[in-house]
Amino acid sequence: MSDTQVPIMQIGDTLLTSLQGDLDDTTVMSIEERLTGEVARRNPTGVLIDVSGLTMIDSFIARVLARMVGMVRLLGSSVAVVGIQPAVAITLVELGVPMGHLDTALNAEQGLALLKRLQADGR
């Protein structure tokens, strides 16, 4: 998978990226590299990670997601995960992956509002 297939869009001062199926180690590395690079370069106040394209999830992708969130936070931006599908939510809970620290919203629009609330809280 080349970089062009990992979309990162800027909306105002927010970056939007999305995770899609068929992730392997190489793809994940390239997504992480690209995302951290873009966050450092553009210094957005918030980042939305859209996972509505993921219909299934395993512990590998769950860890990837948690890692991306951690990286963005370290770079000083608020981050919210949006569009978690029902099956994915159930799997995450059943897998027992600790996801309590994730800030989530139903869709990108509500995600933007969530980012504003997080920023107001200084997170």
Binding site: D13, Q85, P86, A89, I90, V93, G100, L106, E109, R117
Partner: protein
């Protein structure tokens, strides 16, 4: 004993008579290649073929076209050979084309050297039982559907009145229904009304907790309501940690809280619009 002195031919005849007396089951013998070697009144009653029509035919003539194409009969005989016996259920076809749901036991017959020389196949018509089971399952599904309704009580607010005992099948159904409801309506708050649940034990509490966590992952906040005094005591005694879960005594209070949460979110939304200059 008298039996030991009996002529082997008589013994065989007795055995034959015994098999022929079984009419509710089809008992037949196949050769090593799966061709029909013996026939019985039970087999005729079930499959509609006479002995003359059936004997010498491959057993696959009783199978559906798809199963025949897939070589199911050979696979079953191989399994029987390898594991000594196979029991299964499936569709079979009678002479007149009528399909019936058969319960089949297939066992290999071995000679003194352990070589498989044929098979015994005992089948029975379970069509009626299967239909009953399916009907029962359908009714159970319907009851399940009716017993876990997801109600859209306000814009962005879903309510889930839970009535009756929650077993794990029902609880997972409930979780699925609720999460799908959230995805469909993009609800931001869900109210779980447990006033109709007689007892909440550790397992049920875990289910509720998982539901709340999954809903939170999707971005919806949950409010528990209608917890009974004895349930509250039991849950704390059991050491069930409901974490940050909001709880209200009555549905009315829960609704008021839900609407406040939605309003707060709307307010930050419009504040966000002002900030981004939209």
């Amino acid at each position: 004993m008298a039996d030991t002195a009996q002529d082997p031919v008589d013994q065989l005849r007795d055995l034959r008579a015994m098999l022929d007396a079984i009419v509710d089951y089809s008992v037949i013998r196949l050769d090593a290649q799966g061709r029909v070697m013996t026939w019985s009144p039970g087999a005729q009653a079930l499959k509609g073929y006479t002995a003359d029509e059936a004997i010498g035919q491959p057993v696959s003539i009783f199978y559906t076209e798809d199963d025949r194409a897939a070589g199911l009969a050979d696979r079953e005989m191989r399994t029987a050979r390898e594991s000594g016996r196979v029991e299964l259920e499936g569709w079979r076809v009678a002479k007149d084309g009528r399909r019936f749901w058969a319960s089949v036991t297939l066992a290999p017959i071995r000679d003194g050297a352990g070589e498989v020389t044929g098979y015994v196949k005992v089948s029975r018509d379970l069509t009626e039982r299967r239909e009953q089971e399916l009907r029962l399952q359908r009714q159970r599904d319907e009851i399940m559907e009716l017993s876990t309704p997801v109600i859209r009580v306000w814009d962005g607010v879903l309510a889930l009145p839970i009535i009756g005992t929650l077993d794990s099948a029902r609880a997972s159904r409930l979780t699925e229904g609720l999460l799908e409801g959230i995805a469909e309506t993009q609800a931001e708050v869900v109210i779980l009304d447990v006033s109709g649940v007689p007892t909440i034990d550790t397992q049920v509490a875990q289910h509720l907790l998982k539901t709340v966590q999954a809903a939170a992952l999707m971005g919806a906040a949950s409010i528990l309501c209608g917890v009974r005094p004895e349930t509250a005591q039991a849950m704390v005694h059991l050491g069930i940690d409901l974490g940050q879960l909001r709880s209200r005594n009555t549905l009315r209070d829960a609704l008021a809280l839900a609407m406040r949460l939605v309003r707060e979110r709307v307010r930050t939304n419009s504040a966000a619009d002002l900030l981004t200059g939209q």
